[in-house]
Symmetry: C2
Subunit: 218 residues, 2 copies
């Protein structure tokens, strides 16, 4: 692997593990048994590393969120989208943690992230509309305003589920959050659909939710 890519990878791992705020460029270099000089030969500054990581994240999620619109969407589709997105979220979990600071310190990133948000919201909307399509659509027809609200709610829960887990569950015992716990966010997202399900799918969603049900209690 190229040095540049090694730097990106090690940075991502350290960021995910310790939080961007707690990882310095010197740490990254040390982690790779590399001199700071070398790191700075490949990246002008820390922001550039973060930006590069964001580009990867963006690519991944944009790829996942290519929503089929030539046919109605079914529950399998929904699960696939959710699993994919939560997978991306897990791989780049540091990102939403220090998001505000990151956007404050990099204008490029701020602009790109805003556009990224718009695309994601649009993707979510397409999914919901796709679930309404067809004779036996999963979701009932909804007023556009309801859809918009729901899209935003889904986005907020998706992007902040990780933070919720960390703050509400990581106690003195310092339970580490794992990918499995993150997937419980899927249960939470599915709950949004419940009031709008067509009768045929009520039981199906229940079964589905069972697969992602949290086994902890707050």
């Amino acid at each position: 692997m190229k040095t540049r890519d090694k730097i990106i990878l090690a940075s991502l791992e350290l960021f995910n593990d310790k939080g961007e705020r707690n990882v310095t460029t010197n740490h990254i270099a040390a982690d790779l048994s590399m001199s700071p000089g070398n790191l700075y030969y490949h990246f002008r500054n820390k922001s550039d590393i973060i930006y590069e990581i964001f580009i990867q994240y963006e690519l991944l999620v944009d790829h996942y969120l290519q929503i089929t619109d030539d046919r109605p969407l079914n529950l399998n589709d929904l699960v696939y989208y959710l699993e994919s997105v939560f997978d991306g979220l897990w791989s780049y979990r540091f990102f939403h943690r220090d998001l505000e600071f990151l956007l404050d310190s990099d204008e490029r990133l701020r602009k790109d992230y805003r556009e990224f948000t718009v695309r994601c919201l649009d993707g979510i909307k397409k999914i919901l509309k796709g679930l309404q399509k067809g004779l036996d659509g999963v979701l009932k027809d909804l007023e556009d305003e309801h859809i918009e609200s729901m899209v935003l709610n889904v986005w907020l829960v998706v992007t902040n589920w990780m933070a919720y887990l960390k703050t509400a569950h990581a106690g003195d015992d310092n339970i580490a959050i794992d990918k499995g716990m993150l997937r419980q966010g899927i249960y939470q997202i599915l709950s949004f659909t419940v009031p709008y399900l067509t009768p045929a799918y009520v039981e199906e969603i229940k079964k589905l939710q069972d697969q992602y049900r949290p086994n902890y209690s707050i």
Copy 2:
């Protein structure tokens, strides 16, 4: 005002304005035209200042979230609770921004915050249950599981609405977020109730939502 209180107040203002990460103890002292030595005479370290601010935040929200349970709740009650909570959120808006880091660096805070979360979730639950009570309850009866999901969804949207505004709307033009924009989160929270409203309240909630409707488009 006592010096100690001045420090707390100035810190809160600076934190809210610039983010905790960007505010040093020296900044706080300078802002008060005070020596660092003096600041450290009153607080052992930065964490102690933050902790003290959290205690105030906690007190405020706990106060707001004393939910009447001797009668059914109506829409006025709901609005009061929402307005109050969003008001607290605004006054201490720095807090949820760097939450994960703050909790990582202060065990006391971590523990307290976790308990605080539990109380808040419980408060939200009481509100929802209160809205179901009575002959003309605002909300239909719901399975407990639905309530639990909804409680968590409400919490996630409430605590992260600010971050959403900042990241999705603060662009190059650097629109500052104001209290009014924050209140649009109330619109978003009200959307959770829509599918569960008893018929008598459908129109009422619509009217209410209109009052908080965002005037921007994403």
